[in-house]
């Protein structure tokens, strides 16, 4: 089941530069997309989300872009900071009457170097 894919297992970026993390999905029913940050032995921390009716959502240093025709979303972090080093997961969902189960990608390990 590869409905959500993150093709880059790792990314290394210099402090102060832009980090771009990518995610592709296959299920056209997905209408809500989220990015989570995760440290080892901790739970995922919600970062930012976007509904399929939008193509961009911004929150501070984090911006998520959605290209529905390409079934692609990306997370931009600018400027990148050493504290951003973690695994980033994208997740996709659609609402049913009882909630919205999240389908996760495999994650991208971001390392921000000094």
């Amino acid at each position: 089941d590869q409905q959500v894919k993150q093709n880059s297992p790792s990314l290394s970026v210099q402090e102060g530069r832009i980090s771009i993390l990518n995610c592709d999905y296959t299920n056209s029913m997905f209408d809500y997309f989220l990015w989570y940050k995760k440290y080892p032995a901790e739970g995922p921390t919600f970062l930012i989300s976007i509904s399929s009716i939008k193509d961009k959502n911004e929150d501070g240093r984090f911006t998520v872009f959605l290209n529905k025709s390409a079934k692609h979303l990306s997370l931009h972090i600018v400027p990148s900071q050493p504290g951003d080093s973690a695994v980033y997961f994208c997740a996709a969902s659609f609402f049913t009457g009882g909630g919205n189960k999240l389908t996760f990608g495999t994650g991208t390990q971001l390392k921000v170097e000094l």
Partner: protein
């Protein structure tokens, strides 16, 4: 800031034993979820719970698993007879229905 809490942080059990993992979701949330992550793999959905009943479950969530919200604050996951392959991090999450889900710190289950 409200947060999801989970206990215990680490549970070691023998194969065939029953375990109960506990979660306290964010208090005004209505939707509750369990996910798990086997070491080195992605986070996988197990079950969602709304209005005091299971609203969706994955194929992983077989008859050995059950969930309960016994008292309006706790949300539990029970595994009746644990197997070696149940060893994983188990995450509880809750949401208000806007789409975001907030995760607890997880329970690391080790089945020996």
């Amino acid at each position: 800031e409200p947060e999801v809490t989970q206990t215990p942080s680490h549970q070691v059990t023998q194969m065939g034993q029953e375990v109960i993992l506990r979660c306290v979701p964010i208090s005004n949330h209505l939707y509750f979820y369990w996910y798990r992550q086997i070491l080195g793999q992605k986070v996988e959905f197990l079950v969602s719970f709304y209005n005091n009943e299971i609203s969706e479950k994955s194929e992983i969530f077989d008859d050995q698993f059950s969930v309960e919200r016994p008292d309006g604050s706790n949300f539990t996951l029970k595994i009746r007879s644990t197997k070696l392959e149940d060893s994983a991090m188990y995450f509880c999450a809750s949401g208000s229905g806007t789409g975001e889900q907030y995760f607890g710190p997880g329970t690391r289950l080790t089945v020996t």
